[in-house]
């Protein structure tokens, strides 16, 4: 078992979002030999996958520098889907196969070319043949990796309109306020 004071110091450094000075550490852990604890941790961690490092007066844990290649650190960062894209994806999932005109008529606004491209690139939708009507428009459907990503076994797992209504997801904002007031009335 590690010395209790040393444990406290390492927990504080681990949970902190920024590097800390010994004085900042002391504000959390109270009186004790912070400098000594830092040296102990530094020594214990040497040669491990993550180490304690000092930058000026500030201390923090970081992954061992020689292992950085395992992390592939070009932090492009995950990007959230745009509102238009997620709505388009939802419409395709609920109505597939759907043409661009179907999607536009359900969303009530035009969609730009790039929106479907993003979904194609993410691998969540695929072209699903042409519809045999004038103009033979292309239809779109979801892919197995769509199901995979959203943790669904099949499209039938998507909540139906009644479920959405019961979960409060079909209410425009004004209705949501009204129903909050209503449920307060219900409780008496």
């Amino acid at each position: 078992m590690t010395d209790p004071f040393v444990r406290a110091v390492e927990a504080v450094l681990f949970a902190s979002e920024t590097p800390l000075t010994p004085a900042q550490v002391r504000a959390h852990v109270g009186e004790g030999d912070v400098a000594g604890a830092l040296r102990t941790i530094e020594r214990t961690q040497a040669g491990r996958g993550f180490v304690l490092v000092r930058r000026g007066d500030h201390w923090h844990f970081e992954t061992a520098p020689d292992l950085a290649h395992l992390l592939r650190r070009e932090r492009a960062g995950p990007r959230p889907l745009s509102r238009a894209a997620i709505e388009t994806l939802a419409i395709i999932a609920y109505h597939e196969p759907a043409t661009r005109a179907d999607i536009e008529s359900i969303r009530g606004v035009q969609i730009s070319k790039g929106t479907i491209d993003v979904l194609l690139e993410a691998g969540w939708v695929r072209p699903a043949g042409r519809r045999e009507v004038p103009g033979r428009p292309l239809t779109y459907a979801t892919t197995p990796s769509f199901l995979d990503h959203f943790g669904l076994t099949s499209r039938r797992d998507l909540p139906g309109i009644d479920d959405l209504r019961a979960a409060g997801l079909l209410d425009p904002i004004d209705d949501a306020v009204a129903s909050a007031l209503e449920s307060r009335d219900d409780s008496d």
Binding site: F14, A15, S16, E17, T18, H60, F61, E62, T63, L71, R72, R73, E74, R75, A76, G77, P78, R79, P80, L81, R83, A85, I86, E87, L89, A90, I91, A93, Y94, S105, I106, R107, G108, V118, E121, A122, G123, W124, H149, F150, G151, L152, L158, P159, I161, L164, A167, L169, L170, D171, P172, A178, S179, E182, S187, D188
Partner: protein, 243 residues
């Protein structure tokens, strides 16, 4: 037994339905739910409803419906037993007990879950992780919640606007009690319950008034002020004043 009742403060906002109230009463007895006497619990519930009535508190309809059902259960449990009684009152009591045990168990389980060491409250993840980039996974992010919320949003926008009338004209129980009491001022013989309803063209309001008036006459019958009569299931219900 009566001495226990005032300990439970009558507060109306607190109860999420009759089962919740029953469970609180049962818990106040401080016995294992499996050892609970359903009969004494029923008596406590009825006493609670009584007290609320004397304090002129307006009770939710489901609490009153449960009271009527429990009053029936109590009389069935007290009557000499006949083997062919259907439904078997013992089974009804057992069912109620099992439901209370289940609700009690889940409430306890919920409390224990909330008391666990929770991330962001009791234990913390690393504050500033470098992050992993795995080139193989897609950069686009969206969760199932985002997806179904988006569909809800789109549907709400494009669906033909559906006006749901949230509040219907209803007759409250208090109002129904007042009306019936007024009409009882003059001596009446057997009178169909519909005669107590206000003349109103709104069918929904009439249905609400019928329900409230029925509950009001039940309450007055319980107080021994009126008698009720019904010849057969679904036959008209008649009311008369007890002289």
């Amino acid at each position: 037994m009566d001495a226990d009742i005032p300990a439970l403060t009558i507060e109306l906002d607190g109860w999420e339905g009759p089962l919740d109230l029953l469970l609180s009463l049962a818990r106040a007895q401080k016995v294992d739910l499996r050892q609970l006497s359903i009969l004494s619990l029923v008596e406590q519930y009825l006493a609670w409803i009584d007290r609320a009535a004397t304090l002129r508190l307006e009770l939710a309809a489901d609490l009153l419906v449960m009271a009527a059902w429990l009053a029936y259960l109590k009389s069935a449990l007290l009557l000499p037993r006949t083997p062919d009684m259907d439904p078997d009152p013992e089974e009804l009591a057992l069912r109620l007990q099992l439901r209370l045990e289940r609700l009690g168990a889940m409430r306890e389980a919920g409390a224990q879950l909330m008391a666990r060491d929770r991330i962001g409250r009791d234990v913390f993840r690393r504050g500033d992780p470098e992050g992993l980039d795995s080139i193989r996974t897609t950069a686009w992010q969206a969760g199932l919640y985002d997806l179904i919320a988006a569909y809800g949003r789109v549907s709400a926008r494009s669906r033909p606007v559906l006006h749901v009338v949230a509040t219907r004209p209803v007759m409250t129980l208090d109002e129904a009690l007042r009306r019936v009491e007024q009409l009882l001022g003059s001596p009446i013989e057997w009178t169909a319950i519909e005669r107590f309803l206000p003349v109103d063209r709104d069918a929904l309001f009439r249905r609400s008034a019928l329900a409230s008036t029925f509950v009001a006459t039940l309450e007055l019958a319980r107080q021994g002020r009126v008698e009720l009569r019904q010849d057969a299931p679904f036959a008209p219900i008649d009311v008369r004043r007890i002289a």
